[in-house]
Amino acid sequence: MSDSIVSLIGVEKSFGKNKVVKNMNVEIKEGEFLTLLGPSGCGKTTTLRMIAGFEEVSSGTIKVQGESVADKEPYERDVNTVFQNYALFPHMTVFDNIAYGLKIRKRPKTEIIKRVNEMLDLVQLKGYEKRKPDALSGGQKQRVAIARALINNPKVLLLDEPLGALDLKLRKQMQIELKRLQKKLGITFIYVTHDQEEALTMSDRIAVMNDGVIEQLAVPREIYDRPLTRFVAGFIGESNIFDGKVKGVRDGIIDVETSAGTMEVKGNGFEVGEDIHISVRPENINVSDDSVKGFNLKGKIKDYIYMGTFVKTSVDLKDNTEIKYSRFEKDENFKEGDSVNIYWNPERAVAIKVKR
């Protein structure tokens, strides 16, 4: 079992009266790619900055490699950051930017040259040594920022939405490159983003954050298939979410009554009469002419959008809720205006506890 390389214990952060990070506890394992995922304002960047040392914790402890970093300045921590806007030093060349960390530590010139060239190779920027940041494209700047941060061989690399400013194709490409780099170097990456697709692609584990707390910390598949909270369900991927009351429980199947109709979901630990959320992904929804046992969800097909591999279809249910499902070629016989019955495999839906 890999050790925790970074631990957050009861970490809280307030700006004035505004509590931005609330009682955060997380153990980050050595060598893992952990993403802090969440919408703007959820506290993910603040958490990252606390680990880096740019913000003080209001309470709680942060440990890096088992040692508390409470008294340590950013330059005393064995942690390096890739900034959102790259923060390349405009008055230095690419070479000098990358070499900065080593120059500070007064490493011998030969070592610096060797290491910088290694980094340049690593990020595929050989030949750009003499350029200044204002002569680089976004993607190139980003790679310089990464090289600069990695040259110190940090134990932990913090990345604050590094791909946000890049176009889609480049972003996808960099995602793959970053992942490969991380695997190759074996460094722990703590990655911050609001793009859930990015998180799902790259991460070993994802911490989904909302309003200062981690709602779920798990591997991507788990986050996707079995969201723990309504928020996670809604935030990750496309989801249809129903709010209802438990009507009956039998053998691991829960019957739920909602304003749109009745439905089934696989789950445990619920009592009759309890409030419940149900989350179903569009690709798990089926429609049929006939009614299906356990379900009473009727709707009218509203419109559809051609998405390439499937067609995203909207259906209005009886209480005017709109749900989406992904229609494949085989379902082509249904068209706009048709009345359909909605159903799914209970195992493919998720039962979520309602927060008090």
């Binding site: 003080e56 209001s58 309470s59 409470a70 008294d71 300045e73």
Partner: protein
């Protein structure tokens, strides 16, 4: 939660930063506080602290000249700010956005007023104005001020807009607004902080400006700084301090009011303070300030000429500050139903510069000294005086009168040596005593080549108006030794009374003041020269060529040579006077003035025009000042 090392260090950093800033602010504000304190000084000129009084504040309200000049300064500053910021703002925007031929040139031109010494720009503008016939006055000063304010405005705004792009403007035009509307509704609010800074900077530069205002001033009004500059020769009176103190109070009140208004506006509409609101609150505050000033008695000057009347109703005089009685002027104005505009020179050279540049016709009477008369006459700069209109001139002692047709002597000065008999290391009986090394750092002296070289020449046994180069060169060597003993040039009596110097080479009028100021503690004595003559210098009125109100000028000359008028003048300004009849009619105090009580009054020499040799004098004088 306990304080971390880092927080402790941050607090320490904040603390030392705050302390450092307070020290800096103190240094910047100490002169301000001293100045405010001395507004309560019970002394005619602010030479040293002499007791507490509030009389200067009451005197302020009756001295309209000061408040008028303050008003004048403020009006100019406001106008200059508005013009400069307007031109500067649209200029900065235009220069950023558009390319055109000569753009680089204009950019470079913008830096010239910032880096070239103001005196140079001022003289250059003066010449241009005169040659193009532009009358000097508020307009010329305004142009001068704007010329250095505009570049500062442009540069300030440029700093603000340097990173901006045009997306907002494009959005505005896309939505249907034309360029002007876009400018007012979108561009301007965005750069408002920069505009405010530029306005603030322009106002500050304009209201404190001395050089440009002095050079380009017209005959009628002076800005406050120029007025103060002209007081330098005699000394600044504390009513100026009082005025400045009031100014500061008004500013402080205005700032507090501004804050209150801003907060009130903020509460009315809950969406924070937009920049438009800031603008409104500042305008309101300005209106309040203007109102306060008007209340303080600053009547608007700027009366124009009422066409060519048969008799002039205006008289423009350019002379020394603190040299003529206000009552005298007031009476003349009343008797002749005319307005007398006094402007002040800070230096004889000021008048000469203006005359040389061709600006003489701004004035009807200019004061100069006898040394320049020949050149002025030869150069055709002054008019002959019709003495049929000045019968009282016959009261003047003939022997004191050179170039009789062109001038009327006003007052005269014995230039001699006084010293503190208690603190002076030696007794002084001749000029050569002045170069005694025992007097090192003891002498306060007046300045000027034609004051210094003559005494050196006399000390060496030569003609004080020599034109012989080798004699002048010797005089220069003498003056080098003299210079070693000098602690300061100018304001001799000030330094004599406050203890900086123990010997003064100065005018008898100023010595008179110093002696009366010391009163019972007077230990000043006039050097009892055994054979060296002292210079007797005259301040003369001349009428410059092209003067517009010659009739009134001659009337004035007749007026001040009237014995009882001059006698009254001498009460306030007890200088020596060439008008014998007036001296006879003067008060006993005047006649018994200790400053004029010395034995060798007949042993005098006059300044003569030295023609071409003035260049030699000036070169050696420059050499003396520059020092080796």
């Amino acid at each position: 939660m306990s304080i971390t090392k880092k927080q402790k260090r941050q607090r320490r950093g904040e603390f030392s930063g705050a302390v450092y800033s307070i020290i800096i602010y103190s240094i910047l504000y100490i002169p301000v506080f001293v100045m405010m304190m001395f507004s309560f000084n019970n002394q005619r000129y602010n030479y040293y602290w002499n007791g507490f009084t509030t009389m200067w504040y009451s005197k302020l309200f009756s001295n309209s000249a000061l408040t008028e000049s303050l008003w004048y300064s403020v009006v100019i500053a406001v106008l200059a700010t508005v013009i400069s910021v307007t031109i500067g703002t649209i200029g900065a925007l235009g220069l950023k956005k558009y390319e055109f031929r000569g753009k680089k040139f204009i950019n470079e031109m913008l830096y010239i007023p910032i880096i070239v010494p103001e005196i140079v720009m001022a003289v250059a503008l003066l010449i241009i104005f005169i040659k193009t016939g532009l009358a000097l006055g508020m307009g010329s000063i305004l142009i001068g001020h704007c010329t250095f304010c505009i570049p500062y405005a442009v540069v300030t705004i440029r700093g603000r807009i340097s990173g901006d792009d045009y997306t907002l403007e494009e959005a505005s035009m896309d939505l249907g607004a034309n360029r002007i509307q876009t400018f007012i509704n979108v561009t301007l609010p965005g750069i408002m902080p920069g505009v405010m800074s530029a306005a603030f900077l322009s106002f500050t530069l304009s209201i404190d400006d001395v050089v440009m205002s002095n050079m380009l001033a017209g005959a009628k009004n002076s800005t406050l700084p120029v007025l103060i500059l002209s007081m330098n020769k005699s000394g600044v009176t504390p009513d100026v301090n009082a005025l400045t103190t009031i100014m500061i109070l008004i500013i402080v009140i205005a700032m507090i009011l501004n804050n209150l208004i801003k907060n009130a506006l903020k509460k009315r509409k809950k969406n924070g303070g937009s920049n438009m609101k800031k603008l409104i609150s500042i305008v309101l505050t300005l209106v309040l300030i203007v109102g306060l000033f008007t209340g303080c008695g600053g009547t608007n000057t700027g009366s124009g000429e009422s066409g060519k009347a048969a008799q002039s109703t205006e008289l423009n005089i350019y002379m020394w500050q603190q040299y003529i009685s206000d009552d005298l002027i007031a009476n003349f104005e009343e008797e002749n139903n005319a307005k007398v505009n006094l402007s002040y020179m800070s230096d004889n050279a000021d008048a000469i510069t203006k005359l040389t540049a061709g600006g003489g016709q701004e004035y009807d009477l200019i004061m100069t000294c006898d040394a320049y008369m020949e050149s002025l006459v030869d150069g055709g700069y002054i008019e002959k005086i019709n003495f049929d209109n000045v019968p009282n001139a016959s009261n003047i002692n003939e022997s004191y009168w050179t170039a009789k047709e062109y001038c009327v002597p006003y007052l005269m000065n014995y230039i001699y040596v006084v010293y503190n008999k208690d603190t002076s290391p030696i007794e002084i009986k001749s000029y050569n005593d002045l170069i005694n090394p025992a007097l090192k750092g003891h002498i306060a002296t007046i300045d000027g080549a034609r004051n210094l070289f003559p005494i050196a020449l006399v000390a060496l046994g030569y003609d004080p108006n020599s034109t012989n180069e080798s004699e002048i060169a010797e005089a220069y060597e003498w003056l080098v030794k003299y210079n070693d003993n000098v602690v300061a040039y100018g304001n001799a009596e000030q330094n004599l009374t406050n203890g900086t110097a123990s010997v003064a080479f100065t005018y008898d009028g100023n010595a008179s003041w110093a002696m009366s100021e010391l009163g019972d503690k007077n230990n000043l004595v006039i050097a009892d020269f055994e054979k060296d003559p002292v210079q007797l210098g005259f301040d003369l009125y001349v009428i410059p060529k092209g003067a517009k109100h010659v009739d009134l000028a001659e009337k004035f000359l007749n007026y001040i040579t009237e014995p009882k008028v001059m006698a009254a003048n001498l009460v306030e300004y007890p200088y020596s006077c060439p008008n014998d009849v007036a001296v006879e009619a003067a008060s006993d105090d005047y006649k018994n003035d200790p400053a004029r009580d010395f034995a060798y009054k007949e042993n005098v020499f006059f300044q003569k025009d030295v023609g071409e040799a003035i260049i030699i004098y000036n070169d050696y004088y420059q050499k003396l000042k520059v020092g080796e």
